[in-house]
């Protein structure tokens, strides 16, 4: 069945149901956001433990973490995606076969989350390390003096007092995470960018759909900026400046 896309208006092209491609774009956006949220979340967890490791007295751990953050900051995300998408499953399966297990298959969604989390983890390590270092030493020492257990110091004192310092950096990281999901188009995951490309190719209305995807990305980043600005303002309440 051939559809005459040339004679359709903009709103017909972007309509939610077929033959419009709006629904495909929105489900691509949903996939992008899912990957971004999960990758960001796991990246923050990696970053938190990475920062604690980097600030620890363990020389080996700090060196290994230094290698991790330096490597991620130097290797293009596109190359990391290839490494995790193609090389990692091969390595895992080789190891599994040599132990006599069956191979596993890493699906696109999982690999995408893995890549984003791996990249975000490295950047988040740096952001969180700097914000933990900005907490006045006396607070932590006071907590130690009260014999508060270490894990409790972490979640009752260190994390709450580090958040105001970390939020601007973390908001930047979230924007990077949403934009990095677009790279997964290269390995064939139908997130927003590839969905737009497919719609563009099928309808021969290249500019319309690619610009529509751009508008959606812009909307997401503008909304996130507003949200983070609100959060920053909220956490800054009661903080003393310039002291």
């Amino acid at each position: 069945m051939l559809i005459d896309y040339q004679s359709m208006s903009l709103w017909e092209l972007l309509a939610f149901n077929s033959p419009g491609w709006g629904g495909a774009l929105l489900s691509g956006l949903a996939l992008s956001l899912q990957i971004a949220v999960l990758g960001y979340f796991f990246g923050l967890i990696i970053g938190l433990f990475g920062a604690i490791g980097k600030l620890s007295q363990n020389l080996l751990l700090t060196d290994l973490l230094y290698c991790y953050t330096t490597a991620v900051r130097a290797i293009p995300e596109l190359v990391l995606i290839l490494l995790i998408y193609f090389a990692l499953p091969n390595v895992i399966n080789d190891v599994l076969y040599s132990f006599g297990f069956d191979g596993v298959e890493i699906n696109g969604f999982f690999a995408g989350v893995l890549v984003i989390a791996f990249v975000q983890g490295a950047y988040a390590t740096e952001v969180i390390r700097a914000s933990i270092a900005a907490i006045p030493k006396g607070q932590i020492e006071a907590a130690h003096a009260f014999a508060i257990p270490k894990y409790k110091i972490l979640y009752r004192i260190m994390i709450p007092s580090m958040i105001p310092h970390a939020l601007p950096g973390l908001s930047n990281l979230w924007l990077i995470a949403t934009k990095d999901t677009a790279l997964l188009a290269v390995v064939g995951l139908t997130e927003l960018t590839l969905a737009a490309k497919q719609a563009a190719g099928a309808s021969k209305q290249q500019l319309t759909f690619l610009l529509a995807a751009g508008a959606l990305y812009l909307l997401v980043s503008l909304l996130s900026e507003v949200l983070f600005k609100y959060l920053i303002k909220r956490t800054e309440k009661g903080q003393t400046h310039g002291s």
Partner: protein, 267 residues
């Protein structure tokens, strides 16, 4: 003097290597590299050597040219946001927001596939002298990467220009310098000098963005290794060599900027 040399031998690239665990890590790294070199297949390197070198050269050329052109064009964008009339500042600000708020891959595709499909419909464009440019891929890649540098560096320069102490500019004015001369002799050099570390980081980010042009048929480092993977059916080795090449390029950028920072230290 003797103290100086002793310090120099213990520190190389600002890192102290003589901790026991670092020596063990280095030995392990050497073993890993040795086993990778001997165990894996590297016969294809001889065959593709010239192609790889020209592709790496293309990556470097793309990085340097887009960054320099983009940076020069970013100066007015940063400037109007600091001093300019309000409407111009708003235009510059929204330009930055739009470019920074959308993925670079999508921008490259918008220019190459989107505008590239609109151009042929313009009357008489096929006979004009710009048609050969519009049908090849590199102008689109250059344009998209330059725009991206403009937006990001415009934002960096906005902060840098407003961070230059007011007194220095007033002193220049008191000396009778014309506004343009103040900009090129005092304001801009001081702003760049103070933000050199940030600019170095931005160059590396731009280096990491260059492989995206492989998606619009430009044969850069990333694309040549994809071709090698497809032609030889070898999975790991090209990926490892490509990773190594990008690591070396990023290391070179870091070294250059460390040198520049030392050269133009804040005195």
């Amino acid at each position: 003097m003797g103290h100086e040399t002793a310090r120099k031998t213990r520190y190389l690239f600002g890192i102290r290597w003589l901790f026991p665990h670092r020596m063990i890590l280095l030995v392990l790294l050497c073993l890993l590299v040795f086993s990778l070199v001997t165990k894996l297949d590297w016969y294809w390197i001889a065959e593709y050597k010239s192609a790889i070198l020209s592709a790496v050269w293309k990556t470097i050329l793309l990085l340097v040219s887009t960054f320099i052109v983009g940076f020069i064009l970013a100066v007015p964008i940063g400037l109007v946001q600091v001093t300019g009339p309000r409407p111009l500042a708003m235009v510059a600000h929204s330009f930055c927001s739009i470019i920074r708020g959308t993925p670079l891959l999508l921008q490259i595709w918008i220019f190459y596939y989107g505008f590239g499909s609109v151009f042929p419909e313009i009357e008489g464009i096929r006979e004009s002298f710009i048609w050969p440019f519009l049908t090849s891929a590199w102008p689109y890649a250059f344009f998209a990467l330059t725009l991206s540098v403009m937006a990001y560096e415009g934002e960096v320069l906005r902060g840098a220009l407003s961070g230059v102490p007011k007194g220095e500019l007033e002193a220049a004015k008191a000396m009778g310098m014309k506004p343009f001369k103040i900009l090129t002799r005092i304001w801009l050099p001081r702003a760049i000098q103070r933000t050199l570390p940030i600019i170095g980081g931005e160059v590396i980010i731009q280096l990491k963005a260059t492989p995206l042009v492989a998606t619009i048929t430009i044969i850069d480092t990333y694309a040549i290794f994809s071709n090698i993977r497809l032609e030889t059916y070898i999975v790991y080795e090209p990926l490892l060599l490509m990773t190594l090449i990008y690591l070396i390029l990023a290391g070179a950028v870091t070294l250059i900027f460390t040198f520049l920072e030392r050269q133009y230290k804040n005195r």
